[in-house]
């Protein structure tokens, strides 16, 4: 049965059950008139309903608790290929870890059993095998040896050497480590990294949990090369939980454990071996001070610290000494916010660690060979852009309002500029369209305070698909969603009303007006309007916020002032600055629980400006969803600017259209 056919059957089924038994027959006759297949499906479904009794009414677990206990422990004593599982060691990000006996070679191994959900994702599995093979080729005493990546009766596992020892995390927690031991561990790790990097393998998740020390002092790095590939959800898991996670899984992936991430990792950029050097610097800092150099109440706070702050000097945690100063120099060099400020290779770092250790033993002074600390100022240049951005945003809002009022009183056709540009866009060749989008994108980036970057073709094409969708929608009202001109017209009609709500709450009108206009276009009249996934799932919450019933949400005249009042209240609560506005703007356009949740959390913190920057730093990721959803049902700043519908609103000088003329 197709989803459409099923929907019809479901409708008839529900309709019949909603009626008294003696009315069903006539209802069915009428509802299925001339459609025997539908009638038969509906009849059999109703009959199943009547016969189902208590079928699946009790949760599965009530029946299966005993079996479940066994199911959960079923691996102990089990044979997996040549391995007999002896004991459960723990569970990690990559599934369960067991101690097992390799019966062929009569040795003990650590066996990681991959989650079945992972194993059912063939693409991921193949990539994983490839990567694990590359990693298993690494032959270095400080890298955990991978014996085998195998499969037995559909269960995938990795057999590695078994280390009887403690993780660096355990060591740090137990007692303060002598500096000599710390240097020894760091050197062994750096040495392993140098070998791996030479083979083109980056670990990406160096942290105290992934470094083990055997009782004989030998250090091993765990999970080389496989971490990154494993730490992604399997597809069916995503599908299964899509209803509640939809808006979150769309964001860019930021891998790794927050506190050990390099700035480039935190920003979701491409990483190279210098990310491992950063992370080793963090581990070194933590081994000495027994504190995380970068931390915060939330993951975002931690990432902000990574991007913007220099850690407190070691001597604020442990007593000052010459040795400490030397280690501090190595840490500073490893923790350069910009990659080129760090050691460029693990070998360089290793050499300096060795020098420090020799110095510790009383070898010749090495002070001169270690570079003095450079000022770390990546964040400050970012901060310098703040005023530019604020000015641009306020200006944009101001111009938008002027434009809005001017236009509402003028007799010019409401949407002539838009139509002209849209039409022009449609007439361009594909190459011209891409060039146009690239130019617009760079303007917006510059205006937003980003360094204008030239987008690669993939990125341009992806933006193009949004623009195409948007332009097509401005041309024809095909999907039941309002056209841009309809939205603008309605916005204008409601502008005075919205302005009143804002004034009454002493919120600058210019800031909230655009938001309220957008909101007035949001009419959640049905739970399943086409193209309206996303925001519509928040209807109950939004209706509650606005103090409206579900049906009132469909009424623009009720909805608009309620939205305006609600937004105005939020603005008043948040403060009337441009950051707040941007957050609200993002949250309303994005329709994301993530942004909303952040907003809620921010309200509880005194210093939300840092968090704002975190959001802003990830603008590229936000924008993808932002644009996509915008193209679906609201004319956003972005889509509008890209299409060139309303460039004046951005204070942007449009390029002469002749530039694109044939």
């Amino acid at each position: 049965m197709t989803p459409e056919q099923w929907q019809k059957v479901d409708e008839v089924f529900q309709g019949a059950l909603d009626r008294a038994p003696h009315d069903r027959e006539s209802f069915l006759d009428e509802a299925c008139e001339g459609n025997a297949a539908l009638r038969s499906e509906a009849d059999s479904l109703i009959s199943a309903h009547d016969k189902a009794g208590d079928f699946i009414e009790q949760p599965a677990v009530t029946e299966d608790a005993r079996v479940l206990v066994d199911a959960l422990d079923h691996n102990i004593g089990r044979d997996l290929g040549a391995y007999t599982i002896l004991e459960r060691l723990g569970a990690g990000g990559m599934g369960e870890v067991y101690l097992a006996q390799d019966r062929r070679l009569n040795r003990r191994v650590a066996l990681k059993i991959l989650p079945a959900l992972f194993a059912s994702d063939h693409m991921r599995l193949r990539r994983f095998q490839r990567e694990a093979q590359a990693a298993s080729a690494l032959n270095h005493p400080n890298i955990l040896t991978i014996h085998e990546v195998g499969e037995h009766e559909g269960v995938w596992f990795i057999a590695t050497e078994f280390i009887d020892g403690q993780t660096v995390r355990d060591l740090i927690e137990q007692a303060a480590l002598p500096l000599a031991e710390i240097l020894d561990i760091a050197e062994q790790v750096a040495s392993a990294l140098a070998t791996a990097h030479a083979a083109g393998i980056v670990h990406r998740d160096i942290k105290p949990e992934n470094i083990m020390k055997r009782s004989d002092g030998l250090v091993k790095i765990l999970d080389f090369g496989i971490v990154k590939l494993l730490e992604r959800p399997a597809n069916d898991f995503e599908r299964a939980t899509a209803h509640v996670t939809q808006s979150h899984t769309e964001f860019g992936e930021v891998m790794g454990t927050a506190g050990y991430m390099s700035p480039e990792q935190a920003r979701g950029l491409v990483v190279d071996e210098r990310t491992d050097i950063w992370s080793l610097g963090v581990v070194l800092y933590e081994m000495v001070s027994r504190r995380a150099p970068f931390s915060g109440a939330t993951r975002m706070d931690t990432m902000v610290a990574i991007l913007e702050r220099d850690p407190e000097p070691l001597h604020s945690h442990v007593s000052e000494s010459r040795e400490l100063q030397l280690i501090q120099l190595v840490i500073d060099k490893s923790l350069g916010k910009e990659r080129q400020e760090r050691y460029q290779t693990a070998g360089e770092m290793l050499a300096q660690l060795t020098l420090v250790r020799e110095e510790l033993k009383g070898a010749p002074s090495i002070g001169s060979s270690i570079e003095p600390r450079k000022s770390l100022s990546a964040a400050s240049s970012f901060r310098r852009l703040l005023p530019v951005f604020v000015v641009a945003l306020v200006l944009a809002a101001a111009i938008a309002v002027v434009f809005l009022y001017k236009d509402s009183t003028s007799r010019a056709p409401a949407n002539s500029t838009a139509s002209a540009v849209n039409k022009r866009y449609l007439e361009m060749t594909e190459t011209e369209q891409l060039a146009y989008i690239s130019a617009q994108e760079q303007r917006i980036s510059a205006m937003m305070g980003d360094r204008p970057a030239k987008l690669n073709e993939d990125a341009l094409r992806s933006i193009k698909s949004y623009v195409d969708h948007y332009v097509a929608r401005s041309q024809n009202k095909t999907d039941g969603v309002d056209t841009v001109s309809e939205t603008l017209t309605r916005g204008r009609a409601h502008a005075p009303l919205i302005a009143r709500e804002f004034k009454a709450r002493k919120v600058p009108v210019i800031i909230g007006l655009y938001l309220a206009m957008i909101e007035s276009a949001f009419r959640p009249c049905a739970e399943s309007s086409s193209g309206a996934r996303g925001l519509y799932q928040f209807v109950p919450e939004t209706a509650r916020n606005y103090g409206l019933s579900h049906s009132e949400m469909c009424n623009v005249d009720k909805m608009t002032p309620a939205a305006a009042a609600y937004i105005a209240d939020h603005m008043a609560e948040l403060g009337d600055d441009a950051e707040s506005m941007t957050l609200v703007l993002l949250s309303y356009n994005r329709g994301s629980t993530w942004v909303r949740g952040t907003l809620r959390e921010l309200r509880q913190t005194e210093d939300y400006q840092r968090n704002f920057w975190m959001l802003f730093a990830h603008r590229d990721k936000l924008d993808e969803g932002f644009r996509r959803e915008s193209a679906g049902y609201v004319p956003s700043f972005f889509a509008a600017a890209i299409v060139g519908e309303n460039p004046e609103a951005f204070g942007i000088q449009m390029p002469a259209l002749s530039t694109f003329a044939r």
Binding site: F13, A52, T62, L68, V69, L72, G92, H248
Partner: protein, 196 residues
């Protein structure tokens, strides 16, 4: 070797928050913790039963949640996500075990070897029950193709042990919608499972 996922306040809340904030890797880390917790509680259930107490109908998942949630005030998102993950994990465990039970009956190995080496028999799911669960699982996949939300409702209710109200909350739909979804899904699944 201690790669043990330590179940502590920061860990779990952090992972849920990370997941909510868009960190996909948090889900992978979350799953074993849910497994651990389910295992612990299932053990306790069986012990309680042996002591002469009847098994309460409270779902394991709910109990797991309550224990975990006791750590700190959970946001709505955390709670829903936890339910969604738990229901999925639960379904997976049971179906996997049903398959193994069938395989064992057909002469495959589900023999357990104790640490001393003596073979002991594993508790198997009854063949009827195993067949029922597997048929249900397959039917649920079919349903998901036509109507994913109804399939989610069943997963949350039947495998996750959620009430109608909780299901409505997790899926962000009205209680009425869940009721209607449930009756249609139940009828369709009943028909599908019994026609095979």
């Amino acid at each position: 070797m201690t790669t043990q996922a330590k179940l502590n306040e920061n860990n779990l809340t952090g992972l849920l928050t990370e997941w909510r904030e868009g960190d996909k890797s948090a889900l992978d880390k979350l799953t074993p913790i849910v497994y651990d917790e389910l295992r612990r509680i299932a053990h306790r259930y069986v012990r309680r039963e042996r002591d002469g107490h009847t098994l309460a109908t409270t779902a394991l998942v709910n109990e797991a949640y309550l224990r975990l949630a006791g750590f700190q005030k959970f946001t709505w998102e955390n709670r829903s996500h936890f339910f969604a993950v738990s229901a999925q994990v639960m379904r997976h465990i049971l179906i996997d075990y049903a398959r193994r039970s069938q395989f064992a009956k057909r002469g495959g190995g589900l023999q357990r070897v104790s640490l001393e080496g003596a073979a002991i028999d594993a508790v198997l799911m009854s063949p009827t029950r195993a067949a029922e669960l597997i048929a249900l699982d397959e039917a649920l996949d079919e349903l998901a193709k036509m109507d994913p939300r109804k399939s989610d409702v069943v997963q949350l209710r039947y495998f996750g042990g959620l009430t109608l109200e909780e299901t409505a909350e997790v899926l962000q739909v009205s209680l009425m919608t869940v009721r209607r979804d449930w009756r249609a899904a139940r009828a369709w699944l009943y028909k599908s499972v019994n026609s095979e």
